[in-house]
């Protein structure tokens, strides 16, 4: 791989890792590990931990995919590998 493509790949990996950290935080963090303490906090009628587990995590998942799509579209153009 030439140097330019290596850089493209490195940037892709680090952004992906960043998104996967958020992915793990909202589902395994807020939805499972910290559900009890978070349930003590209220979000309107929802205990917060429960809200993350049954609603919030899913909303975040959807956003993550669209953010990745937009980021990669820019990155593809910048490194001239777009279709």
């Amino acid at each position: 791989m030439d140097k330019n493509l290596q850089e493209y790949w490195r940037k892709n990996i680090s952004f992906m890792a960043f998104l996967l950290v958020i992915w793990a935080l909202v589902s395994y963090g807020c939805g499972i590990i910290f559900v009890k303490p978070l349930n003590a906090i209220r979000l309107g009628g929802f205990p917060l931990g429960f809200w993350f587990a049954q609603q919030g995590a899913i909303y975040v998942f959807v956003c993550l995919i669209f953010i990745y799509y937009l980021y990669m579209q820019k990155l593809d153009r910048k490194y001239d590998v777009h279709e």
Binding site: M1, L5, Y8, W9, N12, I13, M16, L19, L20, W23, S27, Y28, G31, I32, I33, V35, K36, N39, L43, G44, G45, F46, P47, G49, F50, W51, A53, Q54, Q55, A57, I58, Y59, F61, V62, L64, I65, F66, Y68, Y69, M72, Q73, D76, V81, H82, E83
Partner: protein, 590 residues
């Protein structure tokens, strides 16, 4: 007009639509048959993926399951959606760039080995076959409940319809019927959900209603979830919003296995071969999860409304005053009541009312209730409720008109048929493409390959139909299998095939075998050979063991790859090429 007449009209109309779509999208070449010619727009592929993914179980059973499990049901909500993030970030764009027809195709080519191809092919067929039997059964059940025909006839009608549109149109026919089926199923799911949300929480948006205030009755003005917590605790259940008895590690592992399993399911992955570009693959994964999320965020609201409504209208009420939907579903055997203390009042408590599913004696008690022959337990609970009725009875509970009930039937059928057709295509393409063309007859012409593909759809439909009519007792158990195997076989191999150039044939084959053998042995021991709970490894249930199998696969693949010689030059170039999007649009054929 009666409910039955409406149901015939709705089901007839939707089936007619599917057949019409199949006719206009019939195909003549293998590329059309396997990957819809690679020209499906991202939005359409998103809808098709959503319909492909959401099965009869998602449509009919999931809300009911959550209703009884409360917080503990979150494993399914997160597990069956979170996998799409992995799919969109780690798999879909690269597999699209690779650009062939099936999952075993990628495994065989990337690991330059027919042995790896064969292992992948066996896994793909096994996973898809276990899944499809359940779908056919689902078709039969919807037919028998709503159209009053025997389950067997329902299965036969379903088989004929699927064979017609999958055989004729292959992936292209399936894709466009799935777009129509998604539309039908989501409308059928949302209409009753919106009305019941209005009735209980006073808002048309179920996702908001879940956190809203109860509108009528003795709990007026209190938050719905607080009321459910209180009712559950009073009746001896775990509070609705709190974690239950399962260990945190087990919950963690089950959720992870479901996520990774989702990302490794061949009938889901294969959908991303059908879009025109890498960009479209990334985008359509987003649309797919968006369309899935519409149902998956509505389901927990439906679950909570149904639970509140059930306890509020039935518990501690005299049987003679039970609402009409209660009596209707009692007729079908999905509700049963045993008056243990002879007070004529329905007591709903934690625990099983009797052992097993209700077996009715055919006689009725003094109040007209159907009597059961089951062994009665000591539990004060007198009520048996099948979880499926939570969705199916919703329209009746909310007093919706007959056409809405008919629509729910059509939606359930759409969910079952769309998933069944996607699975059948995986089975057919694995055999006709990976086995017949790639491993047996490399000289086969387009026409021969297409014919073999169609014959395989026919054979797969017959096998699925057979198991739909004669369901093996282990269907429920093998669902854990499908996810566990997908998680422990495909996922690590595909990810490493993309992200680690150094991973070679020896590593991949050893890793896949280690992952599958460990996972399968664990599940078989605990599900079929009488293993007990105290023997669980670290307290992890068979449903969650795919996570451990996946880790074993990763470790074995990496270690063995480092110990053996690196993959040939052209494979390293292949890996480099799938990492950049440009050039995916060019047609690739073998």
């Amino acid at each position: 007009m009666s409910i039955l007449a409406w149901t015939y009209i709705m089901v007839g109309l939707t089936f007619g639509l599917y057949i019409f779509i199949a006719w206009i999208s019939r195909v003549r070449d293998t590329k059309g048959f396997y990957v819809a010619g690679g020209g499906v727009p991202p939005l359409a592929n998103g809808m098709a993926t959503a319909a492909d993914w959401m099965s009869a179980a998602s449509f009919i059973s999931m809300a009911g399951l959550i209703s009884f499990l409360g917080y503990a049901g979150s494993i399914y909500l997160m597990g069956w959606t979170g996998g799409y993030v992995l799919l969109a970030l780690l798999l879909a764009p690269y597999l699209r760039k690779f650009g062939k027809y099936t999952v075993p195709d990628f495994v065989g080519d990337r690991y330059y080995s027919d042995a790896a191809r064969f292992v992948a092919l066996v896994c793909a067929i096994f996973v898809s076959l276990t899944y499809v039997c359940g779908q056919m059964r689902g078709v039969g059940i919807v037919f028998s409940r709503f159209l009053e025909v025997p389950v067997d006839i329902g299965v036969l009608i379903g088989m004929a319809i699927v064979f017609f549109y999958a055989g004729l149109g292959g992936m292209k026919g399936i894709t466009w019927t799935q777009v129509a089926q998604y539309t039908v199923l989501i409308i059928a799911y949302l209409i009753p959900a919106v009305f019941i949300s209005m009735k209980i929480a006073g808002t048309p948006i179920p996702q908001i209603g879940l956190g809203g205030h109860v509108q009528t009755g003795q709990y007026t003005g209190q938050y719905l979830l607080d009321v459910l917590d209180k009712l559950n605790t009073d009746l001896g259940f775990t509070a609705y919003t709190q974690p239950g008895a399962k260990s945190m590690l087990d919950v963690f592992c089950i959720t992870f296995a479901l996520m990774v399993g989702t990302a490794g399911l061949p009938h889901v992955i294969i959908r991303f071969y059908t879009v025109p570009s890498v960009r479209a693959a990334r985008l359509s994964a987003g649309y797919a999860l968006l369309f899935i999320a519409i149902l998956y965020t509505t389901a927990p609201a439906v679950a909570a409304f149904a639970r509140y409504n059930m306890i509020d209208t039935i518990n501690d009420k005299p049987y003679s005053q039970a609402p009409s939907w209660f009596k209707n579903w009692e007729k079908t055997g999905l509700i049963a009541w045993v008056d243990k203390n002879n007070d004529g009042i329905i007591q709903y408590r934690a625990g099983k009312p009797f052992i097993g599913k209700p077996k009715f004696t055919g006689k009725t008690g003094p109040l007209g209730q159907k009597l059961v022959a089951n062994k009665i337990t000591d539990s004060p609970n007198e009520l048996y409720v099948d979880r499926d009725i939570m969705v199916l009875a919703n329209p009746e509970i909310a007093n919706l008109p007959a056409w809405v009930i008919a629509l729910v039937a059509a939606g359930g059928l759409a969910a079952a048929l769309s998933t069944a057709s996607g699975l059948l295509l995986v089975i057919a393409s694995s055999i006709s493409h990976d086995l017949y063309y790639r491993m047996i007859n490399r000289k086969a012409t387009e026409k021969q390959r297409l014919l073999v593909g169609r014959i395989m759809i026919g054979i797969a439909v017959c096998i699925a139909g057979y198991f739909g009519i004669n369901p093996p007792g282990f269907v429920a158990q093998v669902v854990a299998f499908a996810f566990g195997l997908a998680a422990s076989s495909f996922f690590p191999i595909i990810v490493l095939g993309i992200f680690s150039t150094r991973t070679n044939r020896e590593g991949a084959i050893c890793g896949m075998l280690a992952g599958i053998i460990f996972t399968a042995a664990y599940i078989i021991y605990f599900k079929f050979m009488g293993g007990t709970k105290d023997q669980w490894f670290l307290g992890i249930s068979p449903e969650g063991i795919g996570t451990v199998g996946m880790i074993i696969n990763f470790v074995v693949t990496l270690v063995v790859s480092r110990m053996t010689k690196e993959p040939p030059r052209e494979i390293q170039d292949l890996v480099a090429s799938i990492r950049t999007p440009r050039g995916a649009g060019a047609a690739i054929d073998h």
